[in-house]
């Protein structure tokens, strides 16, 4: 624990050093603001521009959470389906992997052509980036169910559904959570990309406007906001995991 906190401090120091060098480099080389703003400029913009930025922030958070929930739901559904029906798994698994090779940037305009500017294409984009880690992690978790426990449950007369709800699902929970952490960080990125498909507000919109008007400082505000949101999302999942999985302090027996 102590060691962890110490490591945390070290990364903060590295980060501060990085900003310091950045600030210094911009000042010394006299780089124009539209090319690369100094951290202090970005900070000032973040604070003064916050009232108008907050609206965008809020709508991205909403979109991200909705998409995340949908993606996770879909991911778990697919995992359960593939786990319970092995012949479907063999047929579908390669397509799951292929789905991750579709470049979202290329797919996005197509989705707009097919589904218009509504919420649907946005949800599809976020789901596409979110579901995969959860599906893979859950499948792995199901597969790794302890054979001893499975043997006991069967001897004790557990039905297939009891086996799933009472053993396989809780057993896969730690694994599912590692998938959720990855998905949580992806979901904000997914939300921002989906906002490029046309939205009234959101960090994606704010970013597009900023870059087309050469407000590079605002672009950086958007970037840092995305990073911060992803981190907060990640931390929230870790917190939920801690609350839910209190039994796992040592290995499974």
């Amino acid at each position: 624990m102590k060691k962890n906190r110490f490591k945390g401090w070290r990364s903060v120091i590295v980060l501060l050093l990085f900003f310091f060098i950045w600030e210094l480099a911009v000042k010394i080389a006299d780089i124009p603001e539209w090319l690369l703003p100094a951290p202090s400029t970005i900070m000032t913009e973040a604070i003064t521009g916050f009232p108008s930025f907050s609206e965008h922030l809020l709508s991205t958070i909403k979109l991200g959470i909705t998409g995340f929930a949908l993606g996770v739901g879909f991911g778990l559904f697919v995992a359960v389906l593939l786990y319970l029906l092995p012949f479907v798994r063999e047929a579908i698994y390669p397509f799951l992997i292929l789905s991750q090779n579709i470049p979202v940037i290329v797919l996005a305009p197509l989705l707009v052509i097919w589904f218009g500017f509504g919420i649907l294409p946005k949800m599809i984009v976020i789901t596409l980036v979110c579901f995969f880690p959860v599906t893979i992690a859950a499948l792995d978790g199901f597969k790794q169910t302890s054979p001893d426990l499975r043997h006991y449950m069967k001897m004790a007369g557990a039905t297939k559904s009891q086996l799933f709800w009472k053993l396989e699902l809780p057993h896969a929970l730690p694994s599912i959570f590692s998938g959720l952490k990855i998905s949580a960080t992806y979901s904000i990125m997914g939300a921002v990309i989906s906002e490029w498909l046309g939205a009234k507000s959101g960090i994606g919109v704010y970013m597009t406007l900023a870059s087309s008007s050469f407000r590079t400082d605002r672009v950086f505000v958007a970037i840092f906001a995305i990073m911060a949101l992803s981190l907060i999302f990640f931390a929230a999942i870790v917190l939920i995991e801690r609350l839910l999985i209190r039994w796992q302090s040592k290995g499974v027996d």
Partner: protein
């Protein structure tokens, strides 16, 4: 009246006879031990009774009903404690009942208390010692509603002292409950100390090689282990085992 009746069952694994024409009766309230060398097919026999495997021949009858390949008809305590790590002791102990329908929490708490685990009722398995986990596993089997309990070498992973402790503990709990028990072990002394009857399994393929009715009165005390009678029995069975092993090899 016999609760469990195993009639002429055989089982092959890839053309190797593991169990051949095995017959066994277990009576109501009886504690029967199966003694056999490692790899002789004791766990396989339990898997057959538990319905996970189907016998190639023969029938297994529990209280007058055929239970071939039917899971959940017997209560089971495996060699490793097999407690669900996300459940507290209380929740684990209730699992057997839960799978079969009704839960009786107050009875479970009472049993946990009798087992000397009252303060651990709401602890998770990783907070318990090996011996404590086995106690929980045994209570779970005891609370399961089935008419017979199968115990597959429950103490073989424990050290010698804990093992004796557990034997005494199991005996005291059992003598107050008198459930029908079928118990597998490698250990002759353990079988003698606990059982009403000992069944010796031959090796490859497994059949019943010999059977002994153990006459010691109950309740049995630890001192029994050092009495002449006990040692005589031990010698007697040991020599039979030995002569019998030499015959078969």
């Amino acid at each position: 009246m016999s609760v469990l009746s195993i009639q002429d069952i055989s089982k092959k694994f890839a053309d190797v006879d593991v169990i051949k024409h095995l017959n066994l009766q277990v009576n109501e309230g009886e504690f029967v031990s199966i003694l056999g060398p490692s790899g002789s097919g004791k766990s396989t026999l339990f898997s057959l009774i538990g319905g996970i495997l189907a016998p190639d021949e023969g029938t297994i009858i529990l209280q007058g009903k055929k239970i071939n390949s039917q899971t959940g008809a017997v209560s089971y305590m495996p060699q490793s404690p097999s407690l669900l790590p996300w459940r507290t002791v209380l929740q684990n102990v209730l699992l057997g009942q839960e799978l079969k329908g009704t839960k009786d929490t107050s009875k479970a708490l009472e049993m946990i208390e009798k087992a000397g685990l009252a303060e651990y009722a709401h602890s998770y398995p990783h907070e318990l010692s090996g011996g404590m986990k086995q106690r929980v596993s045994f209570i779970r089997a005891l609370l399961s509603p089935q008419p017979i309990i199968l115990l597959d070498e429950p103490f073989s992973a424990l050290d010698e002292l804990t093992r004796l402790d557990m034997q005494k503990w199991l005996l005291s709990i059992w003598e107050n409950n008198r459930r029908t028990v079928l118990f597998v072990t490698h250990n002759l002394e353990e079988a003698l100390f606990l059982s009403d009857r000992i069944v010796i399994l031959s090796n490859k393929p497994a059949t019943i090689a010999a059977e002994f009715v153990i006459p010691f009165t109950r309740p049995r005390k630890e001192e029994l282990l050092l009495e002449d009678d006990f040692l005589q029995w031990k010698r007697k069975i040991y020599y039979e085992l030995k002569s019998f092993m030499e015959q078969s090899s």
